[in-house]
């Protein structure tokens, strides 16, 4: 839809949604949210872009092909389960690393977060793939 109002708003909301999505992803373990909603929010941002500026513009904004996002997401989620396996624990057992970073305070790096990142990527990839494909019909 060609509209100045829409496309200008999209320029504001797109990055905002992406930022929110990362926030939701990272906070998901402690507050409502998580990889799935995060991925959906990110996808919503890009969907908005696709609606206001057309799919090619949205594709340019994503840079990566959605298929690769799917593969990478699945690989990330899967590989989050493997360290435990090598350590003799059951598949998908969580392994944690606490890092104190400036600004963000204490960050819990963990296989669980990696798992959620995988979820995020897959959801983003699949929704984008769907929206782009349907839009381009």
């Amino acid at each position: 839809m060609r509209s100045i109002i829409l496309s200008t708003t999209a320029k504001l909301l797109g990055p905002l949604l992406l930022a929110c999505s990362v926030l939701v992803l990272l906070r998901g373990h402690d507050a409502p949210g998580g990889g799935f909603v995060g991925g959906l929010l990110a996808a919503a941002g890009l969907t908005l872009r696709a609606i206001s500026e057309g799919v090619p513009a949205a594709r340019r904004a994503v840079r990566i092909e959605p298929h690769l996002l799917l593969g990478a997401g699945l690989a990330a989620a899967l590989s989050s389960g493997l360290p435990a396996l090598f350590a003799g624990q059951p598949f998908l057992t969580g392994r944690w690393l606490r890092v104190t970073a400036p600004l963000a305070g204490e960050i819990k790096l963990s296989t669980v977060l990696l798992f959620d990142v995988g979820v995020y990527m897959v959801v983003l990839g699949t929704v984008l793939l769907m929206v782009f494909t349907f839009s381009e019909e």
């Binding site: 839809m1 509209s3 109002i5 829409l6 708003t9 504001l12 909301l13 905002l16």
Partner: protein
């Protein structure tokens, strides 16, 4: 005191939202319905969000309340704009009491361009 302020905000929000509902049912054409809903809900939800911020207090509540208000204030007009525009294309009727319509006939049916200058223009 805070309880009273919160209650006041709450009731304001509730009343405005309810009015939006009434307006939506009562108003005679699409555009007038949109007028009532957009306006009333923005203030309605705004009051309610503020009520939470004041009532619950703390950074968490305030950040969330402000976020809701800002997001809603940005997105609601865009949605209204999109719908209004679309309604023009599908020819949704205007109320017979509409006195002036300076947008009539300015949309190009093919390109969807909206002419700024021309007959009836400013």
């Amino acid at each position: 005191m805070i309880e009273i302020l919160v209650s006041f905000l709450l009731f304001s929000g509730g009343v405005f939202t309810l009015l939006a509902g009434v307006g939506l049912v009562r108003m005679p054409d699409l555009y007038m319905r949109m007028q009532t809903t957009t306006k009333a809900t923005t203030l309605g939800v705004g009051c309610l969000a503020l009520a939470v911020a004041v009532g619950v207090g703390g950074a968490g509540a305030w950040v969330r309340a402000v976020a809701i208000i800002v997001f809603l204030y940005v997105t609601a007009p865009v949605a209204a704009h999109a719908i209004a525009r679309a309604a023009y294309f599908v020819g949704t009727g205007r109320w017979k009491g509409t006195v002036i319509d300076q947008m009539q006939g300015r949309y190009d049916e093919k390109t969807h361009e909206l002419r700024g200058a021309g007959p009836g223009g400013a």
